[in-house]
Protein backbone atom coordinates (compact mmCIF):
# COMPACT_ATOMS: atom_id res chain seq x y z
CA UNK A 1 0.00 0.00 0.00
CA UNK A 2 1.34 3.36 -0.98
CA UNK A 3 -0.28 5.11 1.95
CA UNK A 4 1.56 2.93 4.42
CA UNK A 5 4.78 3.41 2.55
CA UNK A 6 4.30 7.16 2.76
CA UNK A 7 3.58 7.19 6.47
CA UNK A 8 6.51 4.87 7.06
CA UNK A 9 8.75 7.25 5.12
CA UNK A 10 7.55 10.33 6.98
CA UNK A 11 8.05 8.51 10.26
CA UNK A 12 11.77 8.04 9.82
CA UNK A 13 12.57 11.63 10.77
CA UNK A 14 10.38 12.74 13.70
CA UNK A 15 11.70 11.83 17.14
CA UNK A 16 8.41 10.24 18.21
CA UNK A 17 6.93 8.05 15.49
CA UNK A 18 3.18 8.28 15.80
CA UNK A 19 1.72 5.49 13.78
CA UNK A 20 4.52 3.02 14.22
CA UNK A 21 3.37 1.42 17.50
CA UNK A 22 -0.09 0.73 16.16
CA UNK A 23 -0.68 -0.90 12.80
CA UNK A 24 -4.32 0.20 12.67
CA UNK A 25 -3.18 3.86 12.82
CA UNK A 26 -2.87 4.23 9.04
CA UNK A 27 -6.41 3.28 8.08
CA UNK A 28 -7.93 5.22 10.97
CA UNK A 29 -5.98 8.23 9.76
CA UNK A 30 -7.21 8.00 6.18
CA UNK A 31 -10.77 7.21 7.28
CA UNK A 32 -10.87 10.35 9.43
CA UNK A 33 -9.32 12.46 6.68
CA UNK A 34 -11.88 11.15 4.18
CA UNK A 35 -14.79 11.97 6.50
CA UNK A 36 -13.37 15.47 7.01
CA UNK A 37 -13.02 16.11 3.27
CA UNK A 38 -16.48 14.67 2.56
CA UNK A 39 -18.16 16.79 5.25
CA UNK A 40 -16.34 19.97 4.25
CA UNK A 41 -17.08 19.15 0.62
CA UNK A 42 -20.83 18.99 1.24
CA UNK A 43 -20.93 22.16 3.30
CA UNK A 44 -18.06 24.33 2.01
CA UNK A 45 -16.29 23.23 -1.14
CA UNK A 46 -19.24 22.30 -3.38
CA UNK A 47 -21.23 25.47 -2.53
CA UNK A 48 -18.10 27.62 -2.99
CA UNK A 49 -17.31 26.01 -6.35
CA UNK A 50 -20.95 26.43 -7.39
CA UNK A 51 -20.68 30.24 -7.09
CA UNK A 52 -18.03 30.34 -9.81
CA UNK A 53 -19.65 27.71 -12.03
CA UNK A 54 -23.04 29.44 -11.95
CA UNK A 55 -21.54 32.87 -12.57
CA UNK A 56 -19.71 31.77 -15.71
CA UNK A 57 -22.35 29.28 -16.94
CA UNK A 58 -23.55 31.81 -19.50
CA UNK A 59 -20.01 32.58 -20.62
CA UNK A 60 -17.61 35.36 -19.75
CA UNK A 61 -19.36 38.00 -21.87
CA UNK A 62 -22.71 38.03 -20.03
CA UNK A 63 -20.80 37.93 -16.74
CA UNK A 64 -19.06 41.21 -17.48
CA UNK A 65 -22.28 42.70 -18.92
CA UNK A 66 -24.00 42.02 -15.59
CA UNK A 67 -21.19 43.81 -13.78
CA UNK A 68 -21.67 46.90 -15.95
CA UNK A 69 -25.28 47.49 -14.91
CA UNK A 70 -25.74 50.86 -13.14
CA UNK A 71 -27.55 49.28 -10.17
CA UNK A 72 -24.60 46.96 -9.57
CA UNK A 73 -21.97 49.68 -9.96
CA UNK A 74 -23.90 51.83 -7.51
CA UNK A 75 -24.00 48.99 -4.99
CA UNK A 76 -20.21 48.58 -5.29
CA UNK A 77 -19.71 52.29 -4.71
CA UNK A 78 -21.97 52.27 -1.66
CA UNK A 79 -20.31 49.19 -0.18
CA UNK A 80 -16.86 50.76 -0.56
CA UNK A 81 -18.01 54.08 0.98
CA UNK A 82 -19.56 52.32 3.98
CA UNK A 83 -16.44 50.22 4.60
CA UNK A 84 -14.19 53.26 4.12
CA UNK A 85 -15.99 55.07 6.96
CA UNK A 86 -16.79 52.21 9.33
CA UNK A 87 -13.41 50.43 9.22
CA UNK A 88 -11.21 53.40 10.29
CA UNK A 89 -13.66 54.35 13.07
CA UNK A 90 -13.59 50.83 14.46
CA UNK A 91 -9.82 50.64 14.10
CA UNK A 92 -9.38 53.69 16.33
CA UNK A 93 -11.95 52.42 18.81
CA UNK A 94 -10.47 48.92 18.76
CA UNK A 95 -6.97 50.25 19.51
CA UNK A 96 -8.23 52.41 22.37
CA UNK A 97 -10.32 49.62 23.89
CA UNK A 98 -7.51 47.09 23.50
CA UNK A 99 -5.05 49.41 25.23
CA UNK A 100 -7.52 50.17 28.02
CA UNK A 101 -8.17 46.48 28.66
CA UNK A 102 -4.68 45.04 28.13
CA UNK A 103 -2.75 47.72 30.02
CA UNK A 104 -5.02 48.15 33.02
CA UNK A 105 -6.27 45.87 35.71
CA UNK A 106 -9.50 46.99 37.23
CA UNK A 107 -12.64 45.42 38.64
CA UNK A 108 -15.07 44.51 35.88
CA UNK A 109 -12.38 43.97 33.28
CA UNK A 110 -13.91 40.68 32.10
CA UNK A 111 -17.31 42.35 32.04
CA UNK A 112 -16.00 45.11 29.76
CA UNK A 113 -14.51 42.44 27.47
CA UNK A 114 -17.89 40.73 27.28
CA UNK A 115 -19.64 44.03 26.58
CA UNK A 116 -17.31 44.70 23.65
CA UNK A 117 -18.13 41.19 22.37
CA UNK A 118 -21.87 41.87 22.51
CA UNK A 119 -22.28 42.83 18.83
CA UNK A 120 -21.16 39.30 17.89
CA UNK A 121 -23.83 37.78 20.11
CA UNK A 122 -26.69 40.00 19.01
CA UNK A 123 -28.59 38.99 15.88
CA UNK A 124 -27.86 41.44 13.04
CA UNK A 125 -31.60 41.99 12.58
CA UNK A 126 -31.96 42.94 16.24
CA UNK A 127 -28.97 45.29 15.85
CA UNK A 128 -30.67 47.01 12.95
CA UNK A 129 -33.94 47.17 14.89
CA UNK A 130 -32.22 48.92 17.82
CA UNK A 131 -31.01 51.70 15.58
CA UNK A 132 -34.42 52.03 13.91
CA UNK A 133 -35.90 52.51 17.38
CA UNK A 134 -33.26 55.15 18.06
CA UNK A 135 -33.15 57.13 14.82
CA UNK A 136 -36.30 56.04 12.96
CA UNK A 137 -39.32 58.27 12.40
CA UNK A 138 -40.97 56.99 15.60
CA UNK A 139 -37.68 56.58 17.44
CA UNK A 140 -36.13 58.55 20.29
CA UNK A 141 -34.34 61.04 18.06
CA UNK A 142 -36.83 60.76 15.20
CA UNK A 143 -38.67 64.07 15.77
CA UNK A 144 -35.45 66.03 16.37
CA UNK A 145 -33.81 64.65 13.24
CA UNK A 146 -37.00 65.22 11.27
CA UNK A 147 -37.11 68.93 12.06
CA UNK A 148 -33.39 69.24 11.37
CA UNK A 149 -33.94 67.55 8.02
CA UNK A 150 -31.41 64.79 8.69
CA UNK A 151 -32.16 61.28 7.51
CA UNK A 152 -30.33 58.43 9.18
CA UNK A 153 -32.60 55.43 8.70
CA UNK A 154 -33.17 54.42 5.06
CA UNK A 155 -30.05 56.45 4.20
CA UNK A 156 -26.26 56.17 4.21
CA UNK A 157 -25.59 57.32 7.83
CA UNK A 158 -27.77 54.54 9.26
CA UNK A 159 -26.04 51.93 7.11
CA UNK A 160 -22.63 53.14 8.25
CA UNK A 161 -23.70 53.11 11.91
CA UNK A 162 -25.05 49.55 11.89
CA UNK A 163 -22.01 48.35 9.94
CA UNK A 164 -19.77 49.94 12.58
CA UNK A 165 -21.90 48.23 15.24
CA UNK A 166 -21.64 44.69 13.87
CA UNK A 167 -17.88 44.99 13.20
CA UNK A 168 -17.03 46.67 16.52
CA UNK A 169 -15.23 43.82 18.35
CA UNK A 170 -12.79 42.55 15.67
CA UNK A 171 -9.82 44.92 16.15
CA UNK A 172 -9.93 44.94 19.95
CA UNK A 173 -10.17 41.15 20.04
CA UNK A 174 -7.14 40.65 17.82
CA UNK A 175 -4.99 43.36 19.44
CA UNK A 176 -5.61 42.55 23.13
CA UNK A 177 -3.69 39.21 23.15
CA UNK A 178 -0.79 40.78 21.22
CA UNK A 179 -0.58 43.70 23.65
CA UNK A 180 -0.70 41.35 26.62
CA UNK A 181 2.05 39.17 25.22
CA UNK A 182 4.21 42.19 24.41
CA UNK A 183 4.13 43.47 28.00
CA UNK A 184 4.49 47.09 29.02
CA UNK A 185 8.26 47.16 29.70
CA UNK A 186 9.23 48.62 26.32
CA UNK A 187 6.59 51.34 26.59
CA UNK A 188 7.71 52.22 30.09
CA UNK A 189 11.33 52.35 28.95
CA UNK A 190 10.37 54.72 26.12
CA UNK A 191 8.52 56.98 28.55
CA UNK A 192 11.45 56.98 30.98
CA UNK A 193 13.66 58.07 28.11
CA UNK A 194 11.36 61.05 27.59
CA UNK A 195 9.09 59.94 24.77
CA UNK A 196 5.63 61.46 24.66
CA UNK A 197 2.56 59.24 24.61
CA UNK A 198 2.22 59.70 20.85
CA UNK A 199 5.88 58.88 20.20
CA UNK A 200 5.61 55.78 22.38
CA UNK A 201 2.52 54.67 20.48
CA UNK A 202 3.93 55.24 16.98
CA UNK A 203 7.47 54.01 17.55
CA UNK A 204 7.11 51.31 20.20
CA UNK A 205 3.57 49.98 20.50
CA UNK A 206 2.41 50.10 16.88
CA UNK A 207 5.39 48.24 15.35
CA UNK A 208 4.88 45.48 17.89
CA UNK A 209 1.17 45.01 17.34
CA UNK A 210 1.09 45.66 13.59
CA UNK A 211 0.27 42.11 12.45
CA UNK A 212 -2.49 41.63 15.00
CA UNK A 213 -3.90 45.03 14.12
CA UNK A 214 -3.76 44.30 10.39
CA UNK A 215 -5.54 41.00 10.94
CA UNK A 216 -8.28 42.76 12.90
CA UNK A 217 -8.66 45.39 10.17
CA UNK A 218 -8.93 42.68 7.47
CA UNK A 219 -11.68 40.89 9.39
CA UNK A 220 -13.48 44.18 10.05
CA UNK A 221 -13.38 45.03 6.37
CA UNK A 222 -14.63 41.62 5.25
CA UNK A 223 -17.58 41.78 7.59
CA UNK A 224 -18.27 45.45 6.78
CA UNK A 225 -18.46 44.73 3.06
CA UNK A 226 -20.43 41.52 3.50
CA UNK A 227 -22.91 42.51 6.20
CA UNK A 228 -26.46 41.77 5.16
CA UNK A 229 -29.01 41.52 7.99
CA UNK A 230 -28.36 44.73 9.91
CA UNK A 231 -27.85 46.82 6.78
CA UNK A 232 -30.97 45.32 5.24
CA UNK A 233 -33.09 46.50 8.19
CA UNK A 234 -31.97 50.14 8.07
CA UNK A 235 -31.42 50.56 4.33
CA UNK A 236 -34.91 50.28 2.89
CA UNK A 237 -33.14 48.52 -0.01
CA UNK A 238 -33.75 51.21 -2.64
CA UNK A 239 -32.04 50.04 -5.86
CA UNK A 240 -29.32 52.43 -7.00
CA UNK A 241 -29.61 54.41 -3.76
CA UNK A 242 -29.31 52.39 -0.59
CA UNK A 243 -28.40 48.98 -1.99
CA UNK A 244 -25.06 47.46 -1.02
CA UNK A 245 -23.55 44.48 -2.82
CA UNK A 246 -25.00 41.80 -0.51
CA UNK A 247 -28.43 43.46 -0.79
CA UNK A 248 -28.05 43.53 -4.58
CA UNK A 249 -27.37 39.77 -4.55
CA UNK A 250 -30.51 39.01 -2.57
CA UNK A 251 -32.72 41.40 -4.54
CA UNK A 252 -31.56 40.01 -7.90
CA UNK A 253 -32.15 36.45 -6.68
CA UNK A 254 -35.64 37.29 -5.40
CA UNK A 255 -36.54 38.79 -8.77
CA UNK A 256 -35.39 35.63 -10.57
CA UNK A 257 -32.37 37.39 -12.09
CA UNK A 258 -30.14 34.54 -10.95
CA UNK A 259 -27.27 35.24 -13.40
CA UNK A 260 -26.98 38.81 -12.12
CA UNK A 261 -27.09 37.59 -8.53
CA UNK A 262 -24.23 35.19 -9.22
CA UNK A 263 -22.12 37.76 -11.06
CA UNK A 264 -22.25 39.98 -7.98
CA UNK A 265 -21.78 36.95 -5.71
CA UNK A 266 -18.50 36.11 -7.47
CA UNK A 267 -17.11 39.55 -6.59
CA UNK A 268 -18.06 39.04 -2.94
CA UNK A 269 -16.67 35.49 -2.99
CA UNK A 270 -13.38 36.85 -4.36
CA UNK A 271 -13.37 39.34 -1.50
CA UNK A 272 -13.68 36.38 0.88
CA UNK A 273 -10.84 34.53 -0.85
CA UNK A 274 -8.60 37.62 -0.69
CA UNK A 275 -9.47 37.95 3.00
CA UNK A 276 -8.48 34.34 3.70
CA UNK A 277 -5.23 34.68 1.73
CA UNK A 278 -4.30 37.91 3.54
CA UNK A 279 -5.13 36.25 6.84
CA UNK A 280 -2.83 33.36 6.00
CA UNK A 281 -0.01 35.77 5.07
CA UNK A 282 -0.45 37.82 8.23
CA UNK A 283 -0.49 34.68 10.39
CA UNK A 284 2.73 33.48 8.80
CA UNK A 285 4.40 36.89 9.22
CA UNK A 286 3.46 37.07 12.89
CA UNK A 287 4.80 33.55 13.38
CA UNK A 288 8.12 34.61 11.82
CA UNK A 289 8.36 37.65 14.10
CA UNK A 290 7.67 35.36 17.06
CA UNK A 291 10.54 33.10 16.10
CA UNK A 292 12.94 36.01 15.52
CA UNK A 293 12.24 37.37 18.95
Amino acid sequence: MTTEAKSALSDTNPPTPRTAPRAQGAWVKWLLISITILYLGLILFVPALNVFVEAFSGGVGPFFDNLKSPAFLNSVKLTVIIAAIAVPINTVFGLCAAWAIARNHFPGRTLLLSIIDLPFAISPVVAGLMFVLLFGRNGWFGPVLDTAGIRIIFALPGMVIVTAFVTMPFVAREVIPVLEEMGSEQEEAAKTLGATDWQTFWRVTLPNIRWGLLYGVILTNARAMGEFGAVSVVSGNIAGKTQTMPLFVEEAYKQYKTPEAYSAAVILALLAVVTLVLKEIVERKSRITDVQE
Binding site: R18, V46, V92, V125, D197, L268
Partner: protein, 288 residues
Protein backbone atom coordinates in the same frame (compact mmCIF):
# COMPACT_ATOMS: atom_id res chain seq x y z
CA UNK B 1 -1.89 64.14 25.06
CA UNK B 2 -2.72 63.75 28.74
CA UNK B 3 0.56 63.87 30.58
CA UNK B 4 -1.30 64.48 33.84
CA UNK B 5 -3.37 61.30 33.66
CA UNK B 6 -2.91 59.06 36.67
CA UNK B 7 -0.58 56.15 36.13
CA UNK B 8 -3.02 53.40 35.25
CA UNK B 9 -0.73 50.61 36.33
CA UNK B 10 -0.70 51.57 40.00
CA UNK B 11 -3.76 53.68 40.77
CA UNK B 12 -3.30 55.28 44.14
CA UNK B 13 -5.85 54.24 46.69
CA UNK B 14 -6.47 57.79 47.90
CA UNK B 15 -7.51 59.01 44.47
CA UNK B 16 -11.24 59.45 44.56
CA UNK B 17 -13.48 57.72 42.04
CA UNK B 18 -14.63 61.10 40.77
CA UNK B 19 -11.05 62.30 40.27
CA UNK B 20 -10.19 59.24 38.25
CA UNK B 21 -13.37 59.56 36.21
CA UNK B 22 -12.62 63.15 35.23
CA UNK B 23 -8.93 62.50 34.54
CA UNK B 24 -9.24 59.53 32.20
CA UNK B 25 -6.64 59.19 29.48
CA UNK B 26 -7.65 59.59 25.84
CA UNK B 27 -8.04 55.86 24.99
CA UNK B 28 -10.36 55.42 27.97
CA UNK B 29 -12.46 58.38 26.90
CA UNK B 30 -12.76 57.08 23.34
CA UNK B 31 -13.70 53.62 24.61
CA UNK B 32 -16.41 54.84 26.98
CA UNK B 33 -17.89 57.44 24.63
CA UNK B 34 -18.01 55.02 21.70
CA UNK B 35 -19.47 52.17 23.75
CA UNK B 36 -22.08 54.48 25.28
CA UNK B 37 -23.28 55.81 21.93
CA UNK B 38 -22.98 52.65 19.89
CA UNK B 39 -23.94 49.99 22.40
CA UNK B 40 -25.54 51.22 25.61
CA UNK B 41 -27.83 53.75 23.95
CA UNK B 42 -29.35 51.41 21.33
CA UNK B 43 -29.76 48.54 23.80
CA UNK B 44 -31.44 50.96 26.23
CA UNK B 45 -33.69 52.27 23.44
CA UNK B 46 -34.89 48.77 22.69
CA UNK B 47 -35.40 47.69 26.30
CA UNK B 48 -37.31 50.89 27.09
CA UNK B 49 -39.44 50.50 23.99
CA UNK B 50 -40.20 46.94 25.07
CA UNK B 51 -41.05 48.24 28.56
CA UNK B 52 -43.59 50.71 27.19
CA UNK B 53 -45.50 47.81 25.70
CA UNK B 54 -46.49 46.71 29.20
CA UNK B 55 -45.89 43.31 30.81
CA UNK B 56 -49.26 41.77 29.87
CA UNK B 57 -49.10 42.86 26.26
CA UNK B 58 -45.39 41.92 26.11
CA UNK B 59 -46.17 38.39 27.26
CA UNK B 60 -49.05 38.14 24.82
CA UNK B 61 -46.92 39.16 21.82
CA UNK B 62 -43.88 37.17 22.95
CA UNK B 63 -45.91 33.96 23.27
CA UNK B 64 -48.39 34.21 20.42
CA UNK B 65 -48.65 31.22 18.12
CA UNK B 66 -46.39 32.47 15.35
CA UNK B 67 -43.72 33.73 17.74
CA UNK B 68 -43.65 30.41 19.61
CA UNK B 69 -43.31 28.48 16.36
CA UNK B 70 -40.41 30.68 15.25
CA UNK B 71 -38.59 30.09 18.56
CA UNK B 72 -39.05 26.37 18.11
CA UNK B 73 -37.75 26.43 14.52
CA UNK B 74 -34.85 28.74 15.43
CA UNK B 75 -33.60 27.13 18.62
CA UNK B 76 -34.19 23.46 17.84
CA UNK B 77 -32.64 23.75 14.36
CA UNK B 78 -29.72 25.83 15.66
CA UNK B 79 -29.17 23.34 18.47
CA UNK B 80 -29.11 20.36 16.10
CA UNK B 81 -26.80 22.19 13.66
CA UNK B 82 -24.33 23.26 16.35
CA UNK B 83 -24.38 19.78 17.93
CA UNK B 84 -23.58 18.17 14.55
CA UNK B 85 -20.75 20.66 14.16
CA UNK B 86 -19.63 19.78 17.68
CA UNK B 87 -18.98 16.21 16.48
CA UNK B 88 -17.60 17.02 13.04
CA UNK B 89 -15.72 20.10 14.28
CA UNK B 90 -13.90 17.93 16.82
CA UNK B 91 -13.05 15.47 14.06
CA UNK B 92 -11.81 18.21 11.72
CA UNK B 93 -9.68 19.83 14.43
CA UNK B 94 -8.20 16.42 15.29
CA UNK B 95 -7.39 15.68 11.64
CA UNK B 96 -5.85 19.13 11.10
CA UNK B 97 -3.66 18.95 14.23
CA UNK B 98 -2.60 15.30 14.22
CA UNK B 99 -2.30 14.28 10.55
CA UNK B 100 -0.41 15.44 7.49
CA UNK B 101 -1.98 15.03 4.08
CA UNK B 102 -1.81 16.79 0.72
CA UNK B 103 -3.91 19.95 0.64
CA UNK B 104 -4.00 20.28 4.42
CA UNK B 105 -3.17 23.99 4.35
CA UNK B 106 -6.05 24.69 1.98
CA UNK B 107 -8.50 22.69 4.12
CA UNK B 108 -7.28 24.55 7.20
CA UNK B 109 -7.74 27.95 5.55
CA UNK B 110 -11.13 26.97 4.07
CA UNK B 111 -12.58 26.30 7.53
CA UNK B 112 -12.67 30.09 7.97
CA UNK B 113 -14.72 30.56 4.80
CA UNK B 114 -18.03 30.96 6.68
CA UNK B 115 -16.45 33.90 8.56
CA UNK B 116 -15.23 35.55 5.36
CA UNK B 117 -17.99 34.77 2.87
CA UNK B 118 -20.88 37.27 3.01
CA UNK B 119 -23.98 35.49 4.30
CA UNK B 120 -26.07 36.54 1.29
CA UNK B 121 -23.65 34.69 -1.01
CA UNK B 122 -23.69 31.66 1.28
CA UNK B 123 -27.49 31.60 1.23
CA UNK B 124 -27.60 32.03 -2.53
CA UNK B 125 -25.21 29.21 -3.35
CA UNK B 126 -26.56 26.82 -0.68
CA UNK B 127 -30.09 27.41 -1.97
CA UNK B 128 -28.94 26.51 -5.50
CA UNK B 129 -26.79 23.51 -4.57
CA UNK B 130 -29.46 22.00 -2.29
CA UNK B 131 -32.45 22.78 -4.53
CA UNK B 132 -34.29 19.96 -6.32
CA UNK B 133 -32.20 20.36 -9.45
CA UNK B 134 -29.00 21.42 -7.70
CA UNK B 135 -25.81 19.34 -7.52
CA UNK B 136 -26.49 17.86 -4.09
CA UNK B 137 -30.23 18.50 -3.71
CA UNK B 138 -31.01 16.42 -6.82
CA UNK B 139 -29.41 13.38 -5.15
CA UNK B 140 -32.03 13.58 -2.40
CA UNK B 141 -35.07 13.97 -4.69
CA UNK B 142 -35.40 10.18 -5.31
CA UNK B 143 -35.54 9.75 -1.53
CA UNK B 144 -38.38 12.26 -1.35
CA UNK B 145 -36.27 14.74 0.62
CA UNK B 146 -36.44 18.42 -0.21
CA UNK B 147 -33.76 20.61 1.34
CA UNK B 148 -33.92 24.16 -0.04
CA UNK B 149 -37.02 26.12 1.00
CA UNK B 150 -37.72 23.74 3.89
CA UNK B 151 -36.54 23.47 7.47
CA UNK B 152 -33.70 21.21 6.34
CA UNK B 153 -32.44 24.15 4.29
CA UNK B 154 -32.48 26.33 7.40
CA UNK B 155 -30.41 23.62 9.07
CA UNK B 156 -27.93 23.56 6.17
CA UNK B 157 -27.42 27.33 6.38
CA UNK B 158 -26.92 27.05 10.14
CA UNK B 159 -24.46 24.17 9.67
CA UNK B 160 -22.49 26.35 7.27
CA UNK B 161 -22.24 29.44 9.43
CA UNK B 162 -21.54 27.63 12.73
CA UNK B 163 -18.86 25.34 11.25
CA UNK B 164 -15.64 27.23 12.18
CA UNK B 165 -16.35 27.81 15.87
CA UNK B 166 -15.66 24.33 17.31
CA UNK B 167 -12.66 23.79 15.01
CA UNK B 168 -11.08 27.11 15.96
CA UNK B 169 -11.66 26.83 19.71
CA UNK B 170 -10.41 23.25 19.80
CA UNK B 171 -7.33 23.52 17.56
CA UNK B 172 -5.06 25.43 19.99
CA UNK B 173 -6.03 23.14 22.87
CA UNK B 174 -5.23 20.03 20.81
CA UNK B 175 -1.92 21.55 19.77
CA UNK B 176 -0.94 22.12 23.40
CA UNK B 177 -1.97 18.63 24.41
CA UNK B 178 1.23 16.87 25.27
CA UNK B 179 1.97 13.66 23.45
CA UNK B 180 3.80 12.48 26.56
CA UNK B 181 0.69 12.13 28.71
CA UNK B 182 -0.82 9.83 26.09
CA UNK B 183 2.36 7.81 25.88
CA UNK B 184 2.48 7.62 29.66
CA UNK B 185 -1.07 6.26 29.62
CA UNK B 186 -0.07 3.61 27.09
CA UNK B 187 2.98 2.70 29.10
CA UNK B 188 0.83 2.24 32.18
CA UNK B 189 -1.22 -0.28 30.20
CA UNK B 190 -4.24 1.79 29.11
CA UNK B 191 -6.03 0.65 25.99
CA UNK B 192 -6.42 3.16 23.12
CA UNK B 193 -10.06 3.61 24.12
CA UNK B 194 -9.16 4.22 27.77
CA UNK B 195 -6.45 6.65 26.70
CA UNK B 196 -8.94 8.57 24.61
CA UNK B 197 -11.76 8.62 27.17
CA UNK B 198 -9.70 9.25 30.31
CA UNK B 199 -6.66 11.21 29.11
CA UNK B 200 -7.42 13.00 25.84
CA UNK B 201 -11.11 13.76 26.19
CA UNK B 202 -11.44 15.56 29.57
CA UNK B 203 -9.46 18.71 28.65
CA UNK B 204 -11.25 18.83 25.28
CA UNK B 205 -14.77 18.98 26.70
CA UNK B 206 -14.72 22.68 27.75
CA UNK B 207 -13.41 23.98 24.38
CA UNK B 208 -15.83 21.76 22.43
CA UNK B 209 -18.78 23.01 24.50
CA UNK B 210 -17.52 26.60 24.13
CA UNK B 211 -17.36 26.14 20.37
CA UNK B 212 -20.84 24.59 20.27
CA UNK B 213 -22.23 27.47 22.34
CA UNK B 214 -20.55 30.06 20.09
CA UNK B 215 -21.89 28.30 17.00
CA UNK B 216 -25.35 28.05 18.54
CA UNK B 217 -25.36 31.78 19.38
CA UNK B 218 -24.34 32.59 15.82
CA UNK B 219 -26.91 30.22 14.30
CA UNK B 220 -29.73 31.61 16.44
CA UNK B 221 -29.03 35.14 15.25
CA UNK B 222 -28.31 34.27 11.62
CA UNK B 223 -30.44 36.07 9.08
CA UNK B 224 -28.82 36.55 5.67
CA UNK B 225 -28.21 32.98 4.58
CA UNK B 226 -31.38 31.58 6.17
CA UNK B 227 -33.75 34.14 4.67
CA UNK B 228 -32.54 33.18 1.19
CA UNK B 229 -32.52 29.38 1.55
CA UNK B 230 -35.76 29.12 3.56
CA UNK B 231 -39.31 29.46 2.27
CA UNK B 232 -40.03 31.70 5.31
CA UNK B 233 -43.44 30.09 5.84
CA UNK B 234 -44.82 30.52 9.38
CA UNK B 235 -45.02 27.27 11.40
CA UNK B 236 -42.68 25.57 8.92
CA UNK B 237 -39.36 27.29 8.36
CA UNK B 238 -39.82 30.85 9.60
CA UNK B 239 -37.07 31.77 12.08
CA UNK B 240 -37.34 34.42 14.78
CA UNK B 241 -34.93 36.99 13.19
CA UNK B 242 -36.91 36.83 9.93
CA UNK B 243 -40.14 37.36 11.92
CA UNK B 244 -38.59 40.50 13.45
CA UNK B 245 -37.71 41.72 9.96
CA UNK B 246 -41.19 40.99 8.56
CA UNK B 247 -42.89 42.81 11.43
CA UNK B 248 -40.64 45.84 10.90
CA UNK B 249 -41.58 45.84 7.22
CA UNK B 250 -45.24 45.97 8.27
CA UNK B 251 -44.43 48.87 10.64
CA UNK B 252 -45.42 46.64 13.59
CA UNK B 253 -42.76 48.18 15.84
CA UNK B 254 -44.18 46.73 19.08
CA UNK B 255 -44.28 43.21 17.63
CA UNK B 256 -40.74 43.51 16.25
CA UNK B 257 -39.40 44.97 19.49
CA UNK B 258 -40.90 42.26 21.70
CA UNK B 259 -39.51 39.36 19.65
CA UNK B 260 -36.23 41.28 19.24
CA UNK B 261 -35.99 41.74 23.01
CA UNK B 262 -36.57 38.02 23.57
CA UNK B 263 -33.70 37.31 21.14
CA UNK B 264 -31.49 39.92 22.82
CA UNK B 265 -32.07 38.46 26.29
CA UNK B 266 -31.27 34.98 25.01
CA UNK B 267 -28.05 36.32 23.43
CA UNK B 268 -27.07 37.79 26.79
CA UNK B 269 -27.71 34.48 28.56
CA UNK B 270 -25.63 32.68 25.90
CA UNK B 271 -22.81 35.18 26.38
CA UNK B 272 -22.75 34.41 30.11
CA UNK B 273 -22.80 30.65 29.40
CA UNK B 274 -19.88 31.02 26.97
CA UNK B 275 -17.89 32.99 29.55
CA UNK B 276 -18.49 30.33 32.19
CA UNK B 277 -17.39 27.62 29.75
CA UNK B 278 -14.23 29.55 28.89
CA UNK B 279 -13.36 29.98 32.57
CA UNK B 280 -13.90 26.26 33.03
CA UNK B 281 -11.59 25.54 30.11
CA UNK B 282 -8.86 27.72 31.61
CA UNK B 283 -8.71 25.35 34.58
CA UNK B 284 -6.71 22.97 32.40
CA UNK B 285 -4.16 25.63 31.48
CA UNK B 286 -2.30 25.29 34.76
CA UNK B 287 -1.46 21.67 34.11
CA UNK B 288 0.49 22.47 30.95
Amino acid sequence: MTATSPSPISPKADQSFWYRLTHLSLPWKVTWVYLSIMLVLPVAAMLLKAATVGPDKFWEIATDEIALSTYEVTFVTAFIASAINGVFGTLIAWVLVRYDFPGKRIVDAAVDLPFALPTAVAGLTLATVYSDNGWIGSLFVPLGIKISFTRLGVGMAMLFISLPFVVRTLQPVLQDLEKETEEAAWCLGASPLQTFLLVILPPLIPPVLTGVALGFARAVGEYGSVVIIAGNVPFQDLIAPVLVFQRLEQYDYAGATVVGTVLLLISLVLLVVINVLQTWGRRYDDRG
